[in-house]
Amino acid sequence: MVFILPWIIFVSSFLAYPLLLAFRTSFLSINVLSPDKAAFVGFENWLNAIKDFQFWKSLFNVVYNQAFFIPISMALGLIFALLLFELGNKGVLYRILLFIPVVTSVPVAYIIFRDFAGTSGPIQKILVLSGLIDQSIDWAFTRYLPMPIIAVFNSWKWFGIQMLILLGGLHGINQSSFEAASVDGTNWFQKILFITLPQLKHQLIFILTVNIINGLQMFTEVYILFGSGGGMYGAGLTPVLYLYDMGFAQQKMGYASALGLLLAVVIFLVTIIQLKITNSDEE
């Protein structure tokens, strides 16, 4: 019993109690500095949250971001995992070095990135020199560029984890299926497509699930690039950033709680849909 005690204390104070508080707060108009002035407002926060254009805009932004991040990072992870597997022991050094972006912190990565991808940074210089763009772009102040660009940069930051998970999956595949295939005269790409990928299904689904749940909760990246306002046109606004802005910058704790619950409902629905799809695949 003593062994479980830490967990009981933890769950009651940092999960159960806040959860109840979240519900209660979502029906109040409250400011943490003057809780005595809290007023019961019924479903007002909830209704406002559902009607809030900014909230849905922020949700659109993360979906927009994921539409780029998921394919790019998974493709990178898969390509590097397959090639590392081909190289075997000779690829260890590559594997070690390619993982370095993962261990650096998001603040460090985004502080560098802001200048690195900025108007006088090396990326834009190369793009201008190669003629792909006419002149450097201050993309942070555009309507639709921030999210795809963040997605590319996040792919750089995180593909290493996906690469490792897929590499582990490749090591687990039964080698005899490859040998049978090479006897049949299939080429490398056919082998990957028809034999390797289906056997990596569990790893790919796991990566996809984690990506979607983490993606919906993006915060630090956009906070560092845009501050709590989400940038011009709200192009960098994410649900968590919006919630942070409402709850802490504007001190509308009740409204922010309702937003949090609404976002939790969305995440919950996405998870259920995902489970449904992956389960129906199993059969």
Partner: protein
């Protein structure tokens, strides 16, 4: 046939070298610029430093007091790591090796809590800890991070592989559960201990939102919060200070990773490679 294989190998290596260059270049850019003057960075951001200039590093130590931030981050992440390893393994031990009729239900609840998105608890946890008067303390960043459902899960999976005969034999010899846990289970669990330690340490060290919400006293800043706040206070003519601060924050972690890279692989992917 042999020649063809050699060529395809060469192409793969070439591909990796180019990729590595792209992957690592931002770090080179950061270190390179940390050794220039601000004007040099603005005018020639890509060139090598004209003369090596340490003014960025000096200002980071004197103005940002980065050594203090380092101490704060190390103390917080170190405490979280120790507590995580101890407490989560204790809970997992109880669930796996002690006969207790509610074990199954408790484990179900633990799995369920893994599904609660952290963002839902952001505001209420803040209100709770604010009312406790924990703002601007070390413990506000240590205690809530000490237990995690995922780490309990990792420990429990590992303990499952340890045969119950060890536990039974020790019990017959009159050992208490605490003795069994400390003398038998923990020494056999080094792989999972290092996994949890790495995940806990890195999670705490790289955490940004926690310090942002709970710490606004400069002497308690963590390194992540410190460099971010510092960024907005430095004019563009002194960019080298920014790069010096991020270099300071990155190099120790990368070295740490290089030293323990095998353990990192296991921790981040749940697998062990040969």
């Amino acid at each position: 046939m042999y020649k063809q294989k050699l060529i395809s190998r060469l192409i793969i290596h070439l591909f990796f070298v180019i990729s590595l260059f792209i992957c690592i270049y931002p770090f080179f850019y950061m270190i390179n610029n940390s050794l220039k003057t601000g004007m040099e960075i603005l005018n020639y951001p890509l060139s090598l430093p004209h003369t090596i200039n340490f003014s960025g590093y000096i200002r980071v130590v004197t103005e940002l007091n980065i050594l203090r931030l380092f101490f704060n981050s190390s103390f917080i992440a170190g405490s979280v790591t120790i507590l995580s390893v101890l407490l989560n393994s204790m809970v997992a031990y109880a669930l796996e090796k002690i006969d207790f009729k509610y074990n199954k239900i408790i484990f179900r609840i633990i799995l369920f809590t893994m599904m609660i998105p952290p963002v839902l608890l952001l505001i209420p946890t803040y209100m709770f800890l604010f009312n406790l008067g924990w703002k601007n303390t070390y413990r506000v960043l240590i205690i809530p991070g000490a237990i995690s459902a995922y780490n309990i899960f990792l420990f429990k999976q590992f303990f499952k592989q340890i045969s119950n005969t060890y536990v039974e034999a020790a019990k017959i010899d009159g050992a208490s559960h605490f003795m069994i846990y400390r003398k038998i289970i923990l020494p056999m669990s080094i792989p999972v201990l290092s996994t949890v330690a790495i995940l806990a340490f890195m999670g705490s060290w790289n955490d940004f939102m926690g310090p942002l919400l709970y710490i606004n006293e400069q002497s308690l800043y963590t390194i992540q919060l410190g460099i971010t706040k510092f960024r907005s206070s430095i004019p563009n003519t002194n960019l080298q200070v920014i790069y010096a601060s991020t270099t300071f924050a990155t190099v120790p972690v990368v070295l740490f990773y290089m030293l323990f890279q095998n353990q990192f692989v296991k921790a981040y992917s749940g697998i062990s490679l040969k």
